[in-house]
């Protein structure tokens, strides 16, 4: 089973829910659990789980490499490139590697076979063990604009585990879609504020458009919960759990610790959360 943890707004507590749900499952279920941190621009799960690192692997994207001996400067590659990653300057092809999406058009179209594949590092995949669970996360290279290839690599790494918890990037655009793709259930984490509600609605539009099963978790639950509850009710969306806004949780979080380890009284909450999903 693959469970994605996503949110429109950043900072609502996605990683908190992902880490503690994975921790709960690994402690109390006789299954192989993997947490896949796909928020590869700003991965945080490893801060809480402090894994013992087992593997590190650089992830690359193929980009064009021009053989100037063979290139006649015909410009066909520039013409096919929709991402402005190639330019013809003084009869020579210039490559702008950061703009390349690796569509392969240029090397297919070159009549002189003057284009081979070079590699651009997108980031690093890191894999390790913590408690009784597996953690795999990606970290983009600084100034790398494209995260989906690294997200896909992290997800592929975890494919053999019984339960995969996928911590997705925030937002509603391509990185978030790459995160939730192929999962069985999406947990949308929100907070009871106007920003939280507005961004939740955007995220709901995404998962509905793509046809996912999903439910809502309210983090930093407070006297303003009605903002989210009224919306969930009117849209007939399952409210799976509420995690309180209190100082003891905030403290454990700020120090980078696992809530269930320090505050085991919240075990029931994660048990109910998992049961709510698996009964779906």
């Amino acid at each position: 089973m693959k469970i994605a943890i996503a949110s429109g707004k950043g900072g609502t507590g996605k990683s908190t829910i992902a880490v503690n749900l994975a921790y709960y499952l690994s402690e109390y279920k006789d299954k192989k659990i993997s947490l896949l941190d796909c928020d590869v621009e700003e991965p945080n799960c490893h801060i809480f789980l402090k894994p013992e690192i087992i593997n590190r692997e650089k992830i690359f994207l193929s980009i064009p490499d021009i053989d100037n001996e063979k290139c006649t400067g015909c410009g066909k590659c520039v013409e096919i490139c929709r991402f402005n990653s190639l330019a013809l300057v003084k009869n020579k092809i210039m490559v702008f590697p950061e703009l390349c999406h690796s569509c392969g058009g240029c090397w297919l179209v070159c009549p002189e076979k003057a284009i081979s594949k070079a590699q651009r590092e997108v980031g690093e995949l890191i894999d390790g063990k913590s408690y009784s669970l597996n953690l795999t996360y990606g970290k983009t290279r600084i100034a790398e604009p494209m995260s989906p290839p690294l997200i896909n690599a992290v997800k592929k790494w975890g494919k053999d585990f019984d339960i995969q918890i996928i911590d997705c990037p925030p937002g509603t655009s391509c990185p978030m879609i790459a995160g939730i793709e192929g999962t069985d259930y999406v947990i949308l984490v929100t907070e009871p504020t106007p920003f939280g509600l507005y961004d939740l609605k955007l995220a709901v539009e995404v998962v509905r458009k793509l046809g996912f099963k999903f439910g809502i978790v309210i983090n930093k639950s407070s006297h303003n919960d009605h903002l989210i509850e009224n919306y969930a009710k009117s849209e007939d969306i399952d409210l799976l759990a509420k995690l309180q806004d209190n100082r003891s949780i905030a403290k454990v979080y700020s120090k980078g610790e696992v809530i269930l380890e320090k505050l085991p009284e919240y075990k029931e909450l994660f048990k109910n959360l998992y049961e709510g999903i698996s009964s779906n």
């Binding site: 621009e41 995260s147 391509c174 879609i177 303003n224």
Partner: protein, 282 residues
């Protein structure tokens, strides 16, 4: 004209609330919401739209079933898994590269413009706001950010505005790079948690990579004084430390900025931050 960009790396540190307050404090400026896939600034600034335009960031492939001979060439060549083996285009996965259209032996594929969002110029009680809404499950957020930044520059010129204040998106990827490139100053909003420090370090590294001056403000600094001290030792100028305050949420619920909501210590500290930024002769 100068550009100030507010980013955070990690979401939820108070970035947009602080931008709204800076918009309330600064005179003669244009404000831009570059967090285009989860734009929230309009919830506080209450814009009246005066101009609206569709955003077509790219193209998408369209198969003409009358011409298609189902040879499978497009399926084989697509590097984005956007074409199924029954020769159907997955619009969400299609990146508009046009490789399929180029190599289709019977010219059955056409590349058509794809509307991937819309953007607006609006009037607010704090002057002009340029903002956008990326379509659901769309890409090209970086291009949309560049588009609205360019428009904001034109609007600022027309109004003789001296400053553009930009609300950036979380992360360090495509829309963030598009938000900060060529800017004059980046303000990083962070908080004393292990996660936020980790993320702030990465955005700081990004600003250094692009050689853009950066400063930092620590929100909720009193939540963990030890980690606040760690943030202060990162080698980045600290322009302010805001105490933890429920005013942020209360102001948001009223749809106003923290500055308009209260004269509390948090609001006073934001004023102090603005004064410090102004002193930089932006």
């Amino acid at each position: 004209m100068k550009e100030l960009v507010v980013i955070s790396g990690k979401g939820g540190t108070g970035k947009t609330s602080i931008v709204a307050s800076l918009a309330a404090l600064a005179e003669n400026k244009v404000t831009v919401d570059c967090d285009v896939d989860a734009a929230d600034l309009h919830l506080v600034l209450d814009p009246g739209v005066i101009y609206k335009e569709d955003f077509c960031g790219g193209k998408t492939a369209k198969i003409n079933p009358d011409k298609c001979i189902a040879c499978g060439k497009c399926f084989e060549l697509c590097n984005f898994n956007a074409i199924s083996n029954s020769i159907k285009i997955d619009k969400i996965k299609c990146e508009g590269c046009s490789v399929c259209a180029y190599f289709c032996p019977v010219n059955a594929i056409e590349m058509i413009d794809k509307k991937s969002g819309e953007w607006f110029e609006s009037d607010t009680r704090f002057g002009k706001l340029v903002h956008a809404k990326l379509g659901i499950a769309e890409d090209n957020s970086g291009k949309l950010v560049t588009k609205i930044r360019n428009h904001a520059r034109m609007a600022a010129k027309k109004e003789n505005a001296e400053l553009i204040i930009i609300d950036g998106s979380p992360g360090v990827g495509c829309p963030v790079i598009a938000s900060i490139s060529g800017a004059d100053l980046v303000l990083i909003v962070t908080e004393p948690t292990m996660s936020a420090i980790h993320d702030a370090k990465r955005v700081f590294e990004l600003t250094r990579h692009f050689k853009i001056p950066a400063c930092m403000c620590i929100n909720k600094y009193d939540l963990n004084l030890e980690l606040t001290a760690e943030l202060e030792s990162l080698g980045i100028e600290i322009v302010g430390k805001i105490p933890y305050s429920k005013d942020f949420t209360e102001a948001m619920i009223k749809g106003i900025s923290v500055i308009e909501h209260t004269k509390s210590a948090a609001a006073e500290e934001i004023k102090h931050i603005w004064k410090k930024i102004k002193e930089k002769k932006l």
